[in-house]
């Protein structure tokens, strides 16, 4: 929330001004993918976020044009973007980027809860994740004195979540909009900063992913192969799901994509491309990623690291009582050395960050997963 808050506070007026000055940045907003396993007002949510994007000066691909494009290219999968589709978006629909949204949870039962994960993907032959963020809110996140801060209306909560996401996206576009070769290029902060590696002498920019220390992995292994001063192209595979929660593997993978894409030295390959590669090469990873799979997947140019893992537990709760639980293990394989360069296990409950009076309590599994993954990624890529 602190991260989202800081993104939101990056300034709406500034974002709009910057976009106006830079001209048009055409974005297609795909229908929302349902990872919640439950019904939700997807059309309303999509229209609402589109409206907020327009209010912040973003130019969107029209509904009719999008429908025509999806019909012509027979697009049925809306949870990702493969290479040919991304290229077609660029060439046929003159679109610079595509916004892909996944609804992780939508519950109107008091207190209402909503978790939405969005990412902006570049178009062109090799799509990459430009920006990713999520909003996981519960009506009782900030109850305040006598419960006056509780949000009872699900619409108000939804509006708050979508505003946070739209502000975060506007903040990204205003800070890092750049077009190269007609394709929206990834924002890459310069490799400068107050830090210098004592071993290599290289300067690098350290990114504070943030988070509470109590959400650190319980155990972690990091090979010296991972260097914070090096640029990486990372592929995140869907995690193996051993929990009772449907789609938990995809949700945790999306969290990794979101946190990794925040790092300046990491470029995340769009998961739709990985999915397409796996389907076309008939890769089935029932027991995890094998070294043969690494060979097959790394045909995609310049994939340096492959992130995978297992979700053991991903529990939300309904109503007021209870606490979410998230339990996963993550592994990273280096393509060149074909070795495990990172392994960790994280297991937490929603009140693990509480010191007193429920301050620091997290009420959604999505918010928890974000904290846990954020710290994991920070440990993985820090000095």
């Amino acid at each position: 929330m602190i991260l989202l808050g800081s993104c939101a506070s990056s300034g709406l007026s500034g974002a709009v001004k910057s976009l106006d000055a830079k001209g048009k940045y055409r974005i297609a907003v795909l229908p929302i993918e349902n990872l919640s396993g439950a019904p939700a007002p997807f059309k309303d949510l999509r229209l609402s976020i589109m409206q907020k994007m327009k209010q912040r000066g973003m130019t969107l691909l029209g509904e009719e044009a999008l429908d025509r494009f999806m019909e012509k290219n027979r697009i049925r999968y809306i949870g990702g973007l493969d290479g040919p589709t991304a290229d077609a978006f660029r060439k046929e629909a003159d679109t610079d980027a595509v916004l892909i949204s996944s609804l992780e949870r939508y519950d109107e039962t008091f207190p209402a809860k909503i978790s939405l994960i969005c990412r902006l993907v570049s178009t062109g032959e090799h799509p990459v994740v430009l920006w990713a963020d999520r909003a996981g809110l519960s009506g009782n996140d900030s109850p305040g004195l006598l419960g006056l801060g509780i949000i009872e209306d699900p619409l108000v909560l939804t509006d708050k979540a979508l505003t946070l996401l739209a502000d975060s996206l506007a903040g990204y576009l205003s800070a890092g909009e750049k077009k190269g070769d007609g394709v929206a290029a990834r924002r890459q902060p310069p490799l400068e900063g107050p830090y210098r590696s004592p071993v290599t002498g290289y300067r690098y920019q350290r990114v504070e992913v943030g988070g509470r220390s109590s959400f650190r992995p319980r155990i972690e292994y990091r090979s010296l192969v991972i260097r914070p001063d090096k640029r990486y192209r990372v592929a995140v595979l869907p995690f193996q799901n051993l929990s009772v929660r449907k789609n938990a593997g995809e949700i945790v993978a999306l969290e990794f994509i979101g946190q990794l894409s925040k790092l300046g030295n990491v470029s995340v390959v769009e998961p739709g491309v990985i999915r397409e590669e796996m389907l076309s090469k008939r890769i089935i990873m029932s027991g995890g990623v094998s070294l043969a799979d690494v060979d097959l997947l790394s045909d995609y140019p310049e994939v340096d690291l492959i992130v995978s893992g297992t979700v053991f537990d991903y529990q939300d709760y309904i109503g007021f009582g209870g606490k979410p639980k998230v339990d996963f293990s993550a592994q990273v394989i280096d393509r060149k050395s074909k070795q495990l360069v990172w392994a960790s296990e994280s297991q937490n409950e929603g009140d693990d960050g509480v010191l007193f009076f429920d301050l620091g309590r997290l009420n959604t599994a999505n918010a928890m997963a974000s904290e846990m993954v954020g710290i994991t990624v920070g440990q993985m890529m820090s000095e």
Partner: protein, 194 residues
């Protein structure tokens, strides 16, 4: 004389109760090393799927993941990725990967290039209750099998958690499952490097 007998009987009862309580604490552990084995030569291992003798469907997979991560974290031994182990099992045609034969291990090790294979059994994983007290308990045993010969060169077991004296006297629900699992796995790893 009657008093002495009474005191003696009471003492026996008291000690019996005390020993019973301590026995329920569950801190048992054993291990064995092959004295002829050079463990320094073991640089890469494969951790096979564990036997799950518990009611929890994924207990063995959880303990296996914890063991792999913690063994890697020691920095002493490299552990093959789980997916590579699964590929090796498939290619070697091992019918029961939880209990491979020496021939199967030799074939498997040749495919995935490991020096040793670790197998294991999770015999307890979950909550135990006694009266009003409840606590989590984990009981695991593991074996290391040398790849070249197919011989068992190390074996260890550990039980952590359970209801101890303080739980009985003062209540409390024991430790979280992940903590108990971590302790059991750490105990096993300690015995590997002893």
């Amino acid at each position: 004389m009657a008093n002495i007998k009474k005191i003696a009987a009471n003492s026996v009862i008291a000690f019996s109760v005390l020993f019973s309580l301590l026995a329920c604490g569950g801190k048992a552990s054993t291990y064995w090393h092959d004295p002829e084995m050079d463990f320094g030569s073991v640089k890469t291992v494969a951790v096979m799927p564990f036997v799950n003798a518990t009611r929890d469907q994924f207990a063995a997979e959880r303990v296996r993941a914890a063991f792999i991560n913690r063994l890697l974290a020691t920095g002493g031994i490299y552990v093959m990725p789980k997916g590579e182990v699964a590929r090796g099992i498939s290619r070697a045609g091992i019918t029961d990967p939880t209990a491979p034969s020496p021939e199967e291990i030799q074939k498997f090790a040749g495919i995935v290039k490991v020096d040793a294979v670790i197998t294991g059994t999770v015999s307890e994983y979950g909550e135990v209750r006694s009266g009003t007290s409840a606590a989590n308990v984990v009981s695991v045993s593991m074996q290391m099998i040398e790849a070249q010969t197919g011989r068992v060169v190390w074996s260890a077991s550990s039980t952590k958690g359970g209801i101890d004296v303080s739980d009985r006297l003062f209540g409390g629900g024991g430790q979280p499952m992940a903590d108990v699992t971590g302790k059991a796995v750490d105990d096993i790893i300690d015995k590997l490097f002893k």
